[in-house]
């Protein structure tokens, strides 16, 4: 795991080593062990290394034997040993034991199609000197980040936006459409980011620059069979097949020349991951978790139970509201986008614990909810659709109350109101975004706090309508369940779960996350499963539970799903509130940045101070505004000035 960056000058002028060094300087947290710069005429590549495989010989950027190819690589190719054998049979000779060198030889053999061979999580750049071609690629699900921009005759790319902003020509202006998307979907829609003129290479895409012409093309995309093509399948066989796939996904994800640990949250996914590691590796495993002072969010009972059952040596870090508020500015410096929840902050503290415990790699359970039918939003959509087919039913709406036992506001609503809040109507049943409309429309209401100037500049831009134009041609033929899964895999997974709450806060402390559930063989297998095997009636992750029965405690399998959440708006008010909150939410600061309506924000802040703010919308609005202000403070040259911590 590492940080990469580079520059290509379109006018042929030599790449400036100092510029690449400046970019690399911002990425040291991603790769504190080593660094390197390669320049050759108009191209320059930089690399900051976190040494995990072939500690002695994996220096980068790495060239092939004849110097015709050079790669700068962030990530892991987990099947590199198998690929190496295949390439050796074809006559390739290797001089290191690294997965990086496998990329070079695979590219030499297959060209841009080499990415189809890879089972891994990657963002890399290859300079092909013979063709004078720059080739960038990002893994299928978007585990590893890759950003780029084009300024003053140069193409710049990097693992993080801050490396691009290290170049004086690149300005840190907020992209208002990106902000609008975050304030709707919780994430920008690739290639957009939170910053104007700075793009991200979408997950599952490669980018080529040749003859000064830039093209982006997909090498993978989530897809599902038409509804009519599902057959029941033999559950036992499918469960066994899933288990074997997960075991192999775990086996190759344990390849490292450093110790590997595991996150253990107390939920099914990370308990399964930890159990698989124990099964494959056999030895005593170190596991790590977050606990919360607020009982509402704490899962330590289940963490202890899972750890005891699996025999791990467990370490946890306790997280308080005060700590969340304290680290939030640093967290936003790493997320590089506004967030609507504080949940990345505890993950930031968790990676710090892992780092301080001497670990660089953890296996973790992200992806199971998206590909194996775990999220409440899938269950919610199923209930809403069920109710929508018989609107006069008295008991069908009660299922929604059963789904959200921890939400008092839902428990006390009449059926008429539930129908309105959950968009249950014949008209909405036909909407391609039926599953996500309640969440998106609720979130989008926080845009009411944007300033008149921003709203005017957006000209009524509607992110949901624009998203509809990007749907795959066969989207309508998929089952509603798979449509909902697609939206999660496309938007929230790469744009928030794997980035703001994943790579960015883990790499802040030089920790690499590995995700067995996101092995593309698992993802492809799961996409072909009949939806009723992922969620049987309202039993989420049915096949996964069946596949892993007896391997994890039954109390974990049977417990009610508890989404990972952290204390939100209340962290930022009260006697322990850090000074930056008051400063960034002041009338003067809000008018200076100009993104939000200062009077409206003051009204919201007063609501929090008076203890009257409790709704999801108020909390999302506050966190969204504060994180945007922090982002501008950190990255906008006009805003940059110190504040009291």
């Amino acid at each position: 795991m590492c940080g990469i960056c580079g520059v290509l000058n379109f006018n042929g002028s030599p790449a400036d080593v100092n510029r690449i060094a400046d970019m690399l300087g911002t990425l040291r947290h991603r790769g504190p062990d080593d660094s390197g710069i390669y320049t050759s005429g108009k191209i320059g590549l930089g690399h900051a290394r976190l040494s995990i495989i072939d500690l002695a010989c994996g220096h980068q950027p790495m060239q092939n034997a004849d110097g015709t190819l050079c790669v700068s690589f962030n990530g892991e190719i987990f099947n590199y040993l198998e690929l190496r054998r295949e390439l050796e049979e074809k006559g390739h000779r290797f001089s290191t034991h690294s997965d990086t060198e496998v990329i070079l030889h695979a590219y030499a053999e297959e060209g841009e199609d080499c990415v189809h061979l890879f089972n891994g999580q990657w963002a890399f750049a290859i300079w092909d000197t013979k063709r004078e071609r720059l080739f960038l690629s990002r893994d299928r699900l978007g585990v590893r980040p890759l950003f780029y921009t084009r300024v003053a005759g140069s193409f710049l790319f990097a693992s993080e936006i801050k490396a691009l902003l290290a170049c004086p020509e690149v300005s840190g202006e907020i992209d208002l459409h990106g902000l609008n998307e975050i304030f709707t979907f919780w994430a920008p829609v690739p290639p957009r980011t939170a910053f104007r003129n700075i793009l991200q290479l979408p997950p599952g895409c490669s980018l080529t620059i040749e003859d000064n012409h830039c093209s982006v093309r997909p090498h993978w995309s989530a897809t599902y069979p038409p509804t009519a093509r599902f057959d029941g399948g033999n559950e036992d066989q499918l469960a066994e097949e899933l288990l074997q796939l997960l075991l192999d996904a775990t086996r190759i994800r344990l390849r490292a020349d450093v110790p590997v640990g595991a996150y253990l949250s107390g939920g099914i996914d990370s308990t399964v991951t930890t159990a698989l590691v124990r099964k494959v590796a056999g030895d005593r495993l170190r596991s790590f978790s977050i606990t919360f002072e607020d009982a509402e969010f704490d899962e330590s009972v289940f963490q202890k139970e899972a750890s005891s059952y699996l025999g791990t040596q467990h370490t946890s870090v306790s997280c308080s509201r005060r700590e969340i508020a304290h680290v939030f500015p640093e967290v936003i410096r790493h997320t590089e986008q506004p967030v609507l929840r504080t949940a990345p902050a505890p993950m930031f503290l968790l990676s710090k614990l892992v780092h301080e415990s001497g670990f660089k790699v953890v296996l973790t359970g992200e992806g199971a909810d998206e590909v194996l039918g775990g999220y409440d939003i899938f269950k919610e959509a199923k209930i809403r659709r069920f109710w929508g087919r018989n609107l006069s039913s008295h008991w069908r709406p009660l299922l929604l109350k059963r789904l959200y036992p921890y939400m008092g506001d839902i428990q006390r609503q009449s059926a008429v109101y539930l129908q309105q809040f959950f968009h249950v109507s014949e008209e909405n049943l036909a909407n391609p975004f039926f599953s996500h409309l309640p969440r998106w429309e609720l979130t989008a209401r926080i845009q009411r706090l944007l300033s008149e100037e921003v709203l005017s500049e957006l000209h009524g831009y509607n992110a949901i309508e624009e998203l509809e134009d990007t749907l795959p041609a066969d989207f309508a033929s998929w089952s509603p369940f798979n449509q909902a899964e697609y939206l999660e895999v496309k938007l929230l997974l790469p744009g928030y779960i794997l980035s703001a709450q994943g790579d960015r806060v883990a790499m802040a402390h030089s920790v690499e996350g590995r995700y067995p559930f996101l092995d593309h063989r698992v993802v492809d297998f799961a996409s072909k499963l009949p939806p009723n095997l992922k969620m049987k009636v309202l039993d989420e992750k049915y096949l996964l539970k069946r596949a892993t029965a007896g391997r994890i405690p039954s109390s974990i399998t049977k417990r009610s799903k508890q989404p990972y959440r952290a204390p939100d708006g209340k962290c930022f008010f009260g006697p322990h509130a850090p000074d930056y909150v008051e400063e960034l939410l002041s009338d003067a600061a809000l008018r200076r940045t100009g993104i939000f309506d200062a009077h409206a924000v003051t009204t919201l802040v007063n609501k929090f101070k008076a203890g009257r703010a409790s709704s999801t919308r108020d909390n999302m609005a506050l966190i969204g505004i504060l994180s945007t202000q922090l982002l501008l403070h950190e990255f906008s040259s006009q805003q940059r000035r110190p504040f009291k911590q």
Binding site: D409, Q413, S414, Q420, F421, D597
Partner: protein, 85 residues
């Protein structure tokens, strides 16, 4: 308290509490749910405000859009309840 006072109180509460002080041309007969003014928590906040401010008690069966979903409906409902008490 006359109808005009009730209307003003409700309007102010809705604008300050749910619209962050931006009335956005909210009309008295606009649906508060359809216009995105209140969400599920908002209904509870509204009930709490009405009970405290006007000293009336709302039964669960009264928590329906006919009574709560516009400023106009709210004013009519509160006026009726105050007269009954």
């Amino acid at each position: 308290m006359n109808t005009g006072d009730i209307q003003a109180d409700i309007h102010n509460f809705v604008v300050e509490n749910f619209l962050f002080g931006k009335a956005d041309g909210l009309a008295d007969d606009d649906s508060l749910v359809s216009k995105g003014v209140i969400d599920s928590t908002g209904v509870l906040e509204l009930i709490s405000f009405v009970q405290e401010r006007f000293g009336i008690r709302m039964e669960d069966r009264e928590v329906i859009p006919d009574n709560l979903d516009s400023i106009k409906n709210l004013v009519a409902f509160i006026t009726r309840k105050v007269q009954q008490s």
